[in-house]
């Protein structure tokens, strides 16, 4: 199976700190999506990256797709308590989305 491995699994930081979470695979994928799931809610799509080396920005969030399209990263600048949640990467595979196991982020005020 073409698994997605996310790291770290848990991250607890203070408001204002920067952080990076990673999503890695041994396989090349055509595109990758990042979702955020807030406590008690369903996942919400943040971004889709499709081109190797692509960088996309969403306010304080920066998403990068690896040149070889086997990995991706999400960097958050000056994290805020509202960024708290579960961050999931996902790839498309034969008609379905395969999710990583997620990174749980807690940002303390």
């Amino acid at each position: 199976t073409q698994l997605l491995e996310q790291s770290p699994q848990f991250l607890s930081i203070q408001e204002g700190e920067n952080l990076t979470v990673y999503c890695n695979s041994s396989s090349v994928f055509s595109s990758l999506q990042w979702y955020r799931q807030e406590p008690g809610e369903g996942p919400v799509l943040l971004v889709t990256v499709v081109t190797g080396g692509e960088v996309k920005k969403l306010k304080r969030l920066t998403f990068q797709f690896g040149d070889a399209r086997k990995d991706s990263s999400l960097h958050i600048t000056a994290a805020q308590p509202g960024d708290t949640g579960l961050y999931l990467c996902a790839r498309r595979n034969t008609g379905k989305l395969i999710f990583g196991q997620g990174t749980t982020l807690q940002v303390k005020p």
Binding site: G40, E41, G42, P43, V44, L45, T48, L86, L88, R92, G95, K96, L97, F99, Q101, G102, T104
Partner: protein, 113 residues
């Protein structure tokens, strides 16, 4: 104005019971999904329907039976509930199979005692 809605939000039941979860989307999408999120937050697809036709069945026990009466609704019926069925079940929809964006419902938290 809820895009994807699920009922109930919480479901506590005894082992061996039969229960149903309902899902409705008002986005006009053709494809709907059921996902299961376990206690470790791992989210895995169970079923996918496109225009009321089953297109993905991910080796889910046949105690789980999805039903799509129309393309805006996808319900999940579970027979003979087991302890291991305890999880959060999410419904989602997209414009096309594995469409660009999947929209998730708020989840149904099922606890089997």
């Amino acid at each position: 104005d809820t895009a994807v809605s699920q009922t109930p939000k919480y479901l506590v039941t005894q082992m061996g019971n039969d229960k149903s979860i309902k899902c409705e989307q008002n986005l006009g999408h053709d494809t709907m999904y059921w996902y299961k999120q376990d206690s470790k937050k791992f989210l895995k697809i169970m079923f996918s329907y496109n225009n009321k036709e089953l297109i993905i069945n991910e080796t889910v026990p046949n105690r789980f039976s999805p039903k799509s009466p129309d393309k805006a609704h996808l319900n999940l019926h579970i027979n003979s509930l087991e302890l291991g069925d305890s999880a959060v079940y999410f419904c989602a929809s997209s414009q096309a199979p594995v469409g660009e964006t999947q929209y998730f419902g708020p989840g149904t938290r099922l606890l089997v005692l």
